[in-house]
Amino acid sequence: MTERIIRTKGIYDKFPRKGENNPAPSATHYCPGCGHGVLHKLIGEALADLELQDRAVMISPVGCAVFAYYYFDCGNIQVAHGRAPAVATGVSRATDKVVISYQGDGDLASIGLNETLQAANRGEKIAVFFVNNTVYGMTGGQMAPTTLVGEKTVTCPDGRDPMTQGYPLHMCELISSLKAPVFVERVALSDPKHIRGARAAIRKALQIQKEGKGYTFVEVLSPCPTNLGKSSVLNNEWINEEMAKEFPIQNFRDRTEEAQPIERAKSDFTDEALAKAFDLASLPATQENDDPNFGEAQVKISGFGGQGVLSLGTMLTAAAQAVGKQVSWYPSYGPEQRGGTSNCSVIVSGETIGSPVVYHPNLLVALNRPSLEKFKNDVVPGGTIMYDSIMGDVEIPEGVRGVAVPAQDLADAAGNPKGANTIMFGVMLELGITRLPAEAFKRALEAQFAKKPKLIPMNIEVLEYARKWVRENVK
């Protein structure tokens, strides 16, 4: 007698991943009457018929289908509980291949609900196959988000009570409330007629993937005789009579015709592309020169958020870099810079900089009174505090020089009312504490206004105006 075995397409003939010396190498690990085997066959057959096996990646969830990779003859990835849609997103974005996320009700609708909805909402190019059998199978029959009202499970032994356990979650209905999904349908495996319907929906979903059109979601009402404590026949009747009332078997969305393929860009790794992205050609080729005799300037700049505190700091940093000095800039960050006071530390040095945080500045630039009060006592003896004269009378610690700068008045007088920051910058230069030459400051201004070159001469004028003011007014 000749043996006649009809091989299932897209599924391995034997399942060595079940382990060595397995007594039933061509039998699945699923219980008798379970829907997973049927669904595997339908998906495998579609993968083969649509010639997708060489370009498909199957993602196995946590749940009874954790071992889906035993069976599917394509690339396989096994993932954490509920995270399959996120993993699928990563696979899809990286490769732009056909990606299948195969998940059960606990995995998809409970622990992974966020990933499920967000991947659907992004319209990821993935096919989700959702096995809804109203119960956690692998872990032993606990209540699932899709357990029917009144249905008994291990964790609702008296039947699901909506007053304490809520109502069944309707995933097709939720998913189809989103704009991005292309195809959403609920099918069942309860009898040959429904299986034919499921087959059609599965093939359609995978055809959409083949064409790269976007997100598809097929919910499969599936029997779990073991955990529902029913015979296979009764379980299937129950699906048709009870489950289908709660979860109507129907199409919810079909945009196959109007949906266009989603194109993904091709990654560019060339040096040329990187040089262009970072505009390397425009960068000055400076080299730090160690100069122990140069010493070190420790500057703290502080004021209200939005007063230009941080940009005054970055301009000073750019000035130091322009002439090859070591420099660091460290800001206060986060909510602090959105309200209240903001500050930054700038260190200019002839040698490698240790801690980039300035505790005891040689120069404190205080743009508002709270900053002045907060930091003035930290200034080293012999140090300088620059502050805006708009603050009026201030008390400067003994042994520290105070320089009151009428920044706005000077900017107005220099013919550039928006140049108060440049005035401060010019005063900083002329006071000499930063040890940097005028050349450095001018180059920093050029860099600052590189995108609006018209403003450069104007600001250099303001800078010179501030320098002159210092020479004439500051001892």
């Binding site: 993932v79 974005r93 966020n114 990933e115 040096d271 990187l274 992205a277 960050y333 909510p335 801690s355």
Partner: protein, 349 residues
């Protein structure tokens, strides 16, 4: 060579792009958000892939997906976000996937605050997730190293097929310094021997961390431990400054090592023989090198913005053979020079 003033967080993205990374998946959190911002700007510009994920759990699992395909993927976060990622990182270690994770540490526990701290040491260096695994952990202490060590992290992650961290603190992320662009960009290829890339040659491949059979899982775990031993042998890195004749060795990484360097210089000027030992790999931890200094009779001060998490590793490395003191600040505060000097003076007596 092109130089630019950039923040540490920006340097990380530049390093990743030059290392051939083509996928970034991340979620906002201060003080790591600039990594996300810069990635959103540059990845699409270069045709590379960027997704702002719905959570850190999703971002690490998107990374798991892209890593499974053999592509060079990375993400960045900070304390609370790293805690959420631990499950995914354990799965990556179990599935032997290469991925780079950047942690710009903030102050904890709980919501804590956004100030700099180094309190993630244990959850990063020790593995953090479930199971017997160890990631590789690199600790930069300058903006230049934020880039360079990110590039190295990709190399090591792929060489050893293991998740690899760049562990930095809020200061390193926010600090701006002059930085030199990498000379050459890596041209990545897919390793078809294990990746699942949706191609004919990778069709038979499987990425998984499940071993149902107890013996099999034990064998796998033992093989992981052997791999970690090889990593320790081959990849341990540290920087020693003036440790040769040092009576006191400061042990510090990240921003704390910059402060410790200033303290070392100050102490040397006072005539106290202080050296600086900076682990560049926190995992593998440079045990042998520390042990050699202990054998020469040095005493140690662990300078860290955490509650002695690294000091414990120093004690283990030297088998408690010499005193190991701790200088620490918590809560978002930086260690001060005075604090370190006080401890040095106390030990020098």
């Amino acid at each position: 060579m092109a130089k630019k003033l950039v923040k540490g967080n920006t340097a990380v993205v530049i390093g990743a792009l030059y290392a051939g990374s083509d996928c970034y998946f991340g979620y906002p959190i201060t003080p790591a958000s600039e990594v996300l911002h810069e990635a959103s700007k540059y990845y699409p510009k270069l045709g590379r892939k960027f997704v702002q994920a719905e959570s850190e759990e999703a971002s690490i699992n998107m990374c798991y997906g892209a890593a499974s395909t053999g592509h060079r993927v990375f993400t960045a976060s900070s304390g609370p976000g790293i805690s959420l990622m631990q499950e995914g990182i354990s799965y990556m270690a179990g599935a032997e996937l290469p991925c780079v994770i950047v942690d710009i540490m903030r102050a904890g526990p709980g919501l804590g605050n956004i100030g700099p701290e180094q309190g993630d040491y244990n959850q990063v260096v020790k593995g953090g997730g479930h199971g017997n695994y160890k990631p590789i952990v690199l600790a930069p202490n300058s903006v230049q190293e934020m880039c360079d060590l990110t590039m190295l992290a990709f190399d090591l992650a792929f060489k050893w097929r293991t998740p690899t961290y760049v562990l930095a603190d809020g200061v390193m992320g926010q600090l701006m310094e002059s930085f030199t662009f990498p000379e050459k960009a890596v041209q990545p290829t897919i390793d078809t021997s294990w990746a699942v890339a949706g191609t004919p040659e990778t069709r038979k491949n499987l990425v998984t961390s499940i071993f149902l059979d107890f013996q099999q899982l034990e064998t796998f775990n033992n093989r992981l431990q052997e791999k970690y031993a090889k990593i320790a042998e081959a990849e341990t890195r540290c920087q020693q400054t003036a440790t040769d004749d040092a009576d006191i060795v400061l042990v510090a990484y990240g921003i704390s090592s910059r402060i410790a360097k200033t303290a070392m210089d100050t102490a040397r000027k006072e005539g106290i023989k202080v050296g600086l030992f900076r682990p560049i790999t926190l995992s593998p931890f440079p045990k042998k090198q520390l042990k050699a200094l202990a054998d020469k009779g040095a005493s140690f001060i662990s300078v860290e913005m955490s509650n002695g998490q690294m000091a414990d590793d120093v004690r283990l490395a030297i088998n408690c053979s010499r005193p190991v003191e701790l200088v620490s600040r918590l809560g978002g505060n930086l260690i001060t020079l005075d604090q370190v000097m006080d401890k040095i003076h106390a030990l020098a007596k």
